[in-house]
């Protein structure tokens, strides 16, 4: 929109363009951007926009109960569809309540446009009622943000916001619109020829770098693919290309939490998730590999453990659309800036054009090592006849839902890691979780957003008893819009992950990690107008889960599980990938002394 921004052209356009109020421009721009759903909460500074919403039928507005719920719902919506999530909130507290979801979307690269109301232009800076410096507050937690001061800029800025949110590495964009701008009349311009003046992310990878990468891949003796959320963000084509590339090479593949589903978990080349609570085979393969092919992942500290001992002997290839992700935490040998899907297509072409073959003997040895690690069965846990083990609950949930059109969201904590370990994803966009920011309370509203996009699918929020209470009021929205998602709470009466860390680091002194006044989740569900189910016996679990699936409308499932189970395997803070704590045989003493003094400083 480079030329149109010029004021003279703008005036010329304005004469031909349709004239309408700022509020009408907002709705028109959303419609022209193909928006079908938005999540929001009204207030004084957005009333003109809500008045327009009332008078149209193109965009369906979902009323949430708290603005944080709106942002997470938009994230779930975006993550499960690949489209941009849209949020509408009022000024002041509306905007500040949205900050957590905006930051979450920034950390996990989720495309989102958040429209915030603002006090009228002449009152800005006056400490007016429900005024806050929205662009100031959201500057570090958005990919970009705008304060619209002239109604004639509004349409261009809205189209630009969608462009910025969805192009390159996706992220949240805030458009702050003062109330007088919503009332003022101005020119509407269409979203044609969208090209941003400065923001032009590179899609194609450098050909010689791709060639060099393929050369290294072809000669690898102990290769591993390390993939992340970038593959999912790149779109369904990227997941298909990933499958093609991985099967063509025959190399093992692991993925971050955010990348689950890009490659099918049932495939024999799949090693499971890597990282702090990743599988033994994935982490050992990462540590011992000689060639690491990182596709759309960012060497997060949950993945690398201590960086000076991270995969010490490997040649590292890193494909990322964001140049600042490259060499940020881990030095790589072959950096490739570009869209991961486009670069994988280039890699496949370059691989096919080569006459050579990978060293089959070396690969066989590599797979033998991997199989030895697999035989450790790192996810094994002690079964229990009397108490539901949390791992068992996820396993049963998976078995009973895997043949359906299922989407899974989670909150944050032990249940999230168990879900990642024990629920097996075959397709992308089926797994919605808060990875980077680790936002407790993400899962329930996220499930709401997913269900809005996929009305007939089975949407399940795998939750913890503590997390679920953070944004639980969206249960009311679920009832209002007849969104029949299921909230599956692994209830251990503790903040499980906090408790686990207190056991690991602080002499098992469980400071404030036990919830003494747990609500009755069954009654709570009923109070909201949903259905509550409780199950505490392993032999009744299957029937109870089946009942949950068969119940129309939203359900809160209170799955009472073993209170003090720990989430293993685990790379303790400050340790390397090959120094994992494995689950079954770890004594409480070992857990208590697993982290040394230096490691305790780390997060």
């Amino acid at each position: 929109m480079n030329i149109k921004a010029e004021s003279e052209t703008m005036t010329a356009n304005a004469q031909e363009a349709e004239m309408m109020t700022g509020a009408e421009i907002v709705l028109r721009a959303l419609k022209d951007q193909g928006v079908e759903h938005m999540f929001g909460y009204p207030g004084g500074a957005v009333l003109p926009i809500y008045d327009e919403i009332f008078q149209q039928e193109d965009v369906e507005h979902i009323l949430v109960r708290h603005e944080q719920g709106a942002t997470h719902a938009a994230e779930g919506y975006a993550r499960s569809t690949g489209k941009c999530g849209v949020v509408l909130v009022t000024s002041g507290p509306g905007a500040t309540n949205a900050v957590t979801g905006l930051t979450d979307a920034l950390m996990d690269s989720i495309p989102m446009v958040c429209i915030t109301g603002q006090v009228p232009t002449h009152l800005i800076g006056n400490d007016a009622f429900q005024e806050c410096d929205t662009v100031g507050i959201t500057r570090p937690c958005t990919k970009h943000n705008y304060l619209v001061k002239d109604v004639n800029d509004l349409a261009r800025i809205l189209h630009e916001a969608f462009y910025v949110a969805t192009h390159g590495r996706p992220g949240p964009v805030v458009v702050d619109i003062p109330k007088d701008v919503q009332f003022a009349t101005g020119a509407y311009i269409k979203p044609d020829n969208i090209e941003h003046k400065t923001y032009k992310p590179r899609m194609e990878g450098d050909a010689s770098a791709v060639e060099a990468a393929v050369e290294v891949m072809m000669n690898a003796k102990r290769p591993v693919f390390y993939t992340g959320g970038g593959v999912i963000n790149s779109g369904p084509d990227a997941s298909n290309l990933l499958r093609q590339l991985v099967r063509m090479t025959g190399y093992p593949i692991t993925s971050t939490l955010m990348g689950l589903g890009a490659y099918p978990a049932s495939d024999r080349q799949w090693l499971g998730m890597l990282g702090m609570h990743g599988t033994y085979e994935a982490n050992m393969a990462m540590h011992d590999c000689d060639v690491m092919i990182c596709l759309g992942a960012r060497f997060d500290d949950r993945i690398t453990g201590r960086t000076d001992a991270f995969s010490p002997d490997s040649i590292k290839i890193h494909v990322d659309i964001d140049p600042s992700s490259i060499n940020k935490t881990i030095k790589v040998n072959i950096p490739i800036v570009g869209d991961v899907g486009t670069v994988m297509a280039q890699m496949i072409r370059a691989w096919k054009a080569r006459s050579g073959q990978p060293d089959e003997h070396a690969l066989q040895n590599w797979w033998n090592s991997i199989n030895t690690w697999r035989n450790v069965e790192c996810l094994k846990y002690k079964p229990n006849k009397h108490v539901i083990m949390p791992q068992y609950a996820i396993e049963r949930l998976y078995e009973l839902t895997k043949d359906r059109d299922t989407y899974i969201t989670t909150e944050v904590g032990q249940h999230q890691m168990w879900a990642a370990q024990f629920y097996r994803f075959e397709e992308p966009n089926r797994w919605m979780t808060s990875g980077g920011l680790g936002t407790m309370g993400y899962g329930l509203p996220s499930a709401l957003g997913v269900q809005v996009a996929h009305r007939d699918a089975l949407v399940i929020d795998i939750a913890g008893d503590a997390s679920v209470q953070m944004v639980i009021q969206e249960m009311s929205s679920a009832v209002q819009y007849e969104l029949p998602f299921k909230i599956f709470i692994l209830n251990n009466s503790h903040m499980g992950m906090v408790r686990q860390w207190q056991q690991l680091l602080h002499g098992n002194r469980l400071s404030h990690s036990y919830t003494e006044a747990m609500p009755d989740f069954v009654k709570l569900a009923e109070a909201y107008g949903g259905t509550g189910i409780r199950c505490s016996k392993p032999d009744e679990l299957d029937d109870a889960i089946q009942k949950m699936i068969d119940t129309p409308g939203p359900v809160i499932f209170d799955c009472v599980v073993a209170n003090l189970a720990n989430c293993f395997p685990m790379i303790p803070s400050g340790k390397a990938h090959n120094e994992m704590l494995l689950g079954e045989d770890v004594s409480d003493e070992e857990v208590g002394s697993a982290i040394d003094k230096e490691g305790k400083m780390l997060v």
Partner: protein, 184 residues
């Protein structure tokens, strides 16, 4: 083992790489909040700003130039450039310390108060440093000096015993040598 990696939450030892000082030239859209965005990046990610100058340079194109002198290890400096480049209103970033001997200048206004011999000495030094007198009273001068930061600093330290009362400095502004211009 023990390969030092650029940065992580998992540093168990301090990074001992040498700290370098670099001058970055950043071409940005002159839109509201753009400076806050750039300096917010520096404070948010813990980078240093040793000096900062900013002004619109092309009025028609709404383009401003920000010159930042920053310091960090080589890896941090590369990261700073990458982080700046991915900001939406940033057109381009040049590390003038890497691209070659850039011309760096700053301007200072220096107030010196004194009488008698001190006044003569102040004028003699100002002449030697090619500083201009821009304000005179019975018992004070204001000097204007431009040049490299080191020259400005030297002038200030020489004025100290003579009766220096106040200093203002613009911070460094810089441009590359030769016919090439930074991409807008």
């Amino acid at each position: 083992m023990n390969t030092q990696q650029p940065a992580s939450a998992y540093f168990l030892e301090d990074n001992k790489d040498p700290i370098e000082k670099h001058t970055l030239s950043i071409v940005v859209d002159n839109e509201p909040g753009v400076l806050a965005r750039v300096i917010g990046l520096f404070s948010g990610r813990g980078y240093n700003i040793e000096s900062l100058t900013v002004s619109e340079t092309e009025h028609e194109a709404h383009v401003s130039r920000i010159t930042i002198v920053t310091s960090g290890t080589a890896e941090v400096l590369v990261q700073i450039k990458a982080q700046l480049e991915r900001m939406v209103p940033v057109h381009s970033v040049a590390d003038l310390t890497v691209t070659g001997e850039a011309i760096e200048r700053e301007l200072a206004l220096i107030k010196v108060a004194g009488e008698g011999e001190h006044r003569m000495e102040a004028l003699r030094l100002a002449d030697a440093f090619r500083a201009r007198v821009v304000d005179v009273t019975q018992n004070s001068f204001v000097f204007e000096i431009t040049g490299k930061s080191r020259k400005v600093e030297q002038f200030i330290s020489l004025m100290q015993p003579i009766g220096l009362t106040e200093v203002v400095r613009t911070g460094v502004t810089a441009i590359s040598r030769g016919p090439e211009a930074l991409k807008v």
